[in-house]
Amino acid sequence: MFFLSTMSRRLRLLLRRGRFERGLDEEMRLHMELRGDRLAAGGLSPEEARAMARRRFGNPLLAHDTSVDVWGWRWLEQLTQDLRFAIRTLRKSPGFTVTVVLTLALATGATTSIFSIVNGVLLRPLPFPNPDRLMQIYGRNFASDIGRPAPDAVNGPVGTIELAEYAAQSTTFEGFAAYDLSTTHLDGPDGPERLTAISADREFFSVLGVAPVAGRTFRPDDPLDVVVISGRLWQRRFERDLALVGGKVTLDGRPFTVIGVMPETFQFPYSAASLMDGALPESRTDVWVPSPPLPPLPNNVPRRRARVTGRLKPGVSVEAATAELRVIAQRVEDERYAGTGRRVGVRVRPLAEEVVEPVRGSLWILLGAVGLVLAAACANVANLLLARMTVRAGEVATRTALGAGASRLVRQFLAEGLIVSLAGGLGGALLAMWGTNLLIRLGAAKIPRAHEVTLDWHVFALLLVACGGMAVVFGVVGAYAASRASSQLAKESGHATMGRTYGRIRDVLVIAEVSLAFMLAIGAALVAREAIRLRSVPSGIVTDNVLTLHLTPRAQASDYYGIEKRVSALNGVRAAGLTQLVPLQNWGWNADFRIRGQAMAGRPIAGLRYVTPGYFRAMGIRVVRGREFTDEDDEAAPRVIVVNEALVRRYLPDRDPIGVDLDRGTIVGVIRDIRQARLDRPAEPEIFYPAAQNVTMASDIGMSLAVRTDGPPQALIGQIRAAVREVNPRLAIFNIKTMDDVLSDSMWELNLYRWLVTMFATLALVLAVVGLFGVMSYTATARVREFAVRLALGSNPAGLARLMLRRGAWLAAIGLALGAIMTEQLLMAFGALPIGGRPDVVIYASVAVLLLLLALAACLIPAIRAASVDPVTALRSE
């Protein structure tokens, strides 16, 4: 209380300090005048009286200063003074200042970007109450699940029979909620819109513990025709209309009652895009509907629920919960599945772990790498400061001689450190805003929780702390170097060096920076080479002027054929056709096949695709033998298939594939291999069906339409939409992209990786160049006397410049050699980089030449400075 009122009086004074100081002076002047008057009245002459009054008053300036000090704002005044002086000093050497601030801005910007991702994805708890009690439950995959990496592993869906037993018997869990991903369609002004729907148990929201922003969530007695919608959908389609709650929406043609709206940040489950990996630009969930009852199939075969989340009771460990569920699972296996051979497995894993698992390792590695870069940047700046101190030794010595105390000098350097750190930090914050958004955009569908990443106060607090820390380090380094330099200056009259040890440390630092830059530059070059290679890889398709879009829900084969006809007939369209998912947005749908009349070892596997006749032409896929499909290949006609060259190579070598009978149809054509899954993955054997003969097998994911046009295909979007709607107005049209965009989007991983590696490499290069420049500048200054003597004894200036360049090149060369050795070691340890493979001689040589050139450029200015030493001035200044 007392402290507070004192503080408020002080603050009031600070705000009116100009008026206060003028008042103080006025008071003291009045005092002296009154004293003078009094003395004059006592008989002194006016001059004597004035002099006497001043004598009795003492030093008015001192009284003024002491009075101001009493108010306790002196430090602030000194701080502003220090800062102002620091700004003046820094402005006098703009090269130094810009270098330091840029270095720090780049390093803190990179660190903050990565940290904000790490913070949002890994560090911040999941946005549910007590998220550590949320567990993901897995069951055993069926042995018949073809294409799964480990058919018997316990990482798959959970059977409904055992799930019911868990819910009934478990004492460690408060509750379970199972949910499946599905698709639904909402009627809109442009026709139906495809939505990601979560079909969830009614316990779903209570297990997660999230509240809606409007309305309510599921109740146990809710009928099946209620829906909870996402905040984003509410905003996008309903303009946040509160009247929607309690009203009806039409999903897939059926009316549903909207009971609630979730907050915008609620997107659960996180990896909802896995349903249509590649065809969905981001992982979002739009609506939640209650799941219908799922009675077991005949022969006591349970249905399976894709995902199950449970909430542990407080204080229960994962191990205890696992042990309990195992016991229950074993009982179900023994009693319910006796004699079926069906095995029940169960696995419990914290939800947070499951959500961020795919990216946890790489994010930490990234953070570590960027932290190293930040440390190197700080070391670099300290290095530059040291080098500058030798230049400033004279100034410091003068100021010391004029009475600047040690604390004053330290304050001065702290102020300089503070300014460069804050300026760098500010630049870093701006960079981080840009960088974080870029990272989120590049990884939106792939980085879980990306939509939760924000630059929150944690991130900025860390940035601020980092800046403060850097300021202190720089201040202390600067002050220490200055005091050493100036004391040596005093002792040795002009010969200021930092001693051998410091020189060594600096050299080692620079060599390390060069080798780091070399390694990262090699990495960047490899990724760039890979990007170029993938661009020119024969994908088997011709991507120019192709528009693709996806249609859901599933329709009749005749609809797809009708769409193909109408779109092909449009002016400017060369060909059109449909397939399930276009290449590079694809996912595996594999099945086995047999060649009739031929015994085969094992079960040959091929990818299955359903296409309409125009598809191959629309995609520019070449038919190398036989024919493509026609409209005659319909339901009534004999079953025909087209296969790819990979299938022929592997299973039908040395014979004419046309006419060969497979159990899935007769081969009528062979197409060139196309890269279905990824550009960097060679084609696997494939079988194509005409959609008319096999549409029942086409899955619920719908079909993609590909349209080849004469000119830029975007112009035709409106007409294509209209054509689709004429055939079937219930189809939702989405994911409209040119095939070129599909191609580049399929390289998102490479792009992300490329962006990161290039960023790191650039940073490392900048650091190495700045480091070299710092060391060489220091050398030029520290050896000025030696150079002067050499010049005086007849050396020529060019020789001195060469000496300097040679030293710089030598440091760079050691760094390069070390970098090359470390790169080779790493490659030996890890085989090859995850992307980009192995560097060849060309890459090594070009990166080395680039680095050497940069190194020499960095040494150029110091070399010129060394060469232009004026021996007379240099030697006389001692």
Partner: protein, 109 residues
């Protein structure tokens, strides 16, 4: 007549006592009042009055107000506050106790 400087650390005590007795005074009047009441034995080093006044202001023991002198000059008038009176009482007692003790020691032959 002998003139003595004020013992260190007691100036603010003298100011507070003067203000408590005489009410509102400006700086020169405080100096004069101290000199007069001590029969000109204690002389304030007049400049040092002002830092001392600031200290009292910061602590909230006196308040200040601009006013006009008899000679129609602008001056800052200081007045003791309630907190100032309390402080004065406490410090006065402490000072008298110490001074008495010192006097006893000095006179103990």
């Amino acid at each position: 007549m002998a003139r003595d400087a004020i013992p260190p650390g007691t100036l603010h005590l003298l100011i507070l006592r003067t203000l408590a007795r005489d009410g509102e005074l400006h700086g020169f009047e405080i100096a004069e009042s101290i000199e007069r009441t001590s029969d000109a034995v204690l002389v304030v080093e007049e400049g040092s009055l002002y830092p001392a006044l600031q200290r009292l202001l910061v602590n909230g023991w006196v308040s200040a107000e601009w006013g006009t002198t008899g000679g129609n000059r602008r001056a800052r008038y200081y007045e003791i506050t309630a907190a100032g009176r309390k402080q004065l009482e406490a410090e006065e007692q402490q000072y008298l106790r110490i001074a008495g003790a010192i006097a006893r020691v000095l006179q103990a032959f």
